[in-house]
Amino acid sequence: MKFQSKALLLASVSAVFVVGCASLPGSADLDKLTADIVKASFRDEGIVKVAVLDTDETNRVCSAADVAGKPLDSATAKAIEAANLKSIKWPSDGKFLGDWKEGEKLAQSGRGLTWTDDAKTPNGANCYNCHQLDKKEISFGTIGPSLYNYGKLRGVTDPGSPEAKAMLEYTWGKVWNSKAYNACSNMPRAGHMGILNEGQIRHIVALLLDPQSPVNQ
């Protein structure tokens, strides 16, 4: 931290208290103080730039709701979901399914995009960190629901059939931009934020919906 920015910050901390006297400053002042502190505290490191903190409306609204301890009202949630849904890029060639074996490799990896990774580190999909998928993999997280038998439970026996189309689209959309279906989902927006590309998302969709995939055994 530069001395100058530190001095400025100290001034802004003090200013908040002059206004608020001995009592706690108001919520807007605390938001401002937080923003000033963030600005003075973080720096670029490796491939990670401070610009990644300039986040979008979805994150801003969801963070504020978390701080308040209240879920979003349904109108706000719907608006956020609609905006995220609109941003989804559907497969350019109309093909939703890739290779589940590649999908499994991606699902296993939690690498990429930290300041100790380099730009060449292939991004993982992070799936097993939070979800159960292949039953043989016992090291899985529980922040998200189990996805074991994901396709089977949803009645997808032939992903090429017209009956399966809706589930293919939903699965693609959920992986591309989870917030299209749940405004403040904990799940990253893999396609929307550029964590995974179109081809990689095809592999993840195959892992979830291909009847041959270990997820559906």
Partner: protein, 267 residues
């Protein structure tokens, strides 16, 4: 304001009568491993080094840290760990253990604080701070956390820390709460404490500094938070920066009444 105060009081009351979670089966083997290692936690070596560094005449001024004020007056080292971060009038800011030690090293011993803050963890005088923090944590072992929240800046830092805890950003939209906002969840097989409330004795804030068996390193709270931010895909938080101190204040106040096991041993 009154409502805020009331809810803060309710929260504090909840924390006093907080939960002490039973150990879970998924980490039982790790817990056993830890228990086995407790007999000889390598953190003891850092504690011994820290105590020595406290008394040694060091730095350009060739002075010891024995007049360092960590919140309970110059030279008092018992119990200070349980009340940090707190407000310090001489620096006019809220400081945690490590940033306060850095202030003492600068003021009493004449070290260049900015240089040390820029030094990577595990190198040079950063090792001094880690050893000192480890020893000081040990001097408060088994005591219960009770961070002061009287000064307006302490209250504000709690509120800022809460906002930082829930700040979603970066390519993955992660906040601290993505992993530490619910009960009974894990990443892979690693159990995650819910840090929005008192997670229990020796869990979360009450377990650092800790010796990490997996990489053979002694980590203070600053490094613990730094690595959380790394995994969160956030940019680099400065050593002793206000963001890390505010976050520490939020975690520490939430841990009110929790017994400290620091220096702990981790996988």
């Amino acid at each position: 304001m009154n409502r805020q105060l009331a809810s803060a009081l309710t929260m504090a009351a909840c924390m006093v009568f907080g939960f002490a979670h039973a150990q879970k089966t998924s980490v039982q083997s790790i817990e056993e491993y830890r228990a086995m290692l407790q007999d000889g936690n390598p953190a003891e070596l850092f504690e011994a080094k820290g105590e020595d560094l406290w008394k040694q005449q060091r730095g350009p001024k060739k002075t010891s840290l024995e007049r360092c004020d960590l919140g309970k007056g110059p030279g008092v080292f018992k119990g200070v760990f349980l009340e940090l971060p707190r407000y310090f009038a001489d620096t006019n800011r809220v400081q945690d253990m490590e940033s306060r030690l850095l202030t003492c090293m600068e003021v009493l011993q004449g070290f260049n604080a900015a240089e040390i803050a820029k030094t990577p963890f595990g190198k040079g005088e950063q090792n001094t701070i880690t050893a000192l923090a480890t020893w000081l944590a040990g001097e408060s072992k088994d005591g219960k956390f009770n961070l002061p929240q009287q000064h307006p800046q302490e209250k504000a830092f709690y509120e800022v820390g809460k906002r930082l805890f829930f700040q979603r950003a970066g390519p993955h939209d992660f906040s601290c709460a993505s992993c530490h906002g619910q009960d009974n969840t894990r990443i892979r097989l690693q159990d995650l404490p819910n840090l929005t409330k008192n997670p229990g004795d020796g869990i979360g804030f009450a377990a650092w500094p800790a010796y990490r068996v997996s990489n053979g390193q002694m980590w203070g709270m600053q490094q613990r938070l730094n690595d959380c931010y790394r995994q969160q895909r956030f940019p680099y938080p400065g050593f002793g920066s206000d963001a890390t101190i505010a976050l520490g204040t939020y975690l520490g106040v939430n841990s009110k009444g929790a017994a400290s096991i620091a220096p702990a041993i981790k996988r």
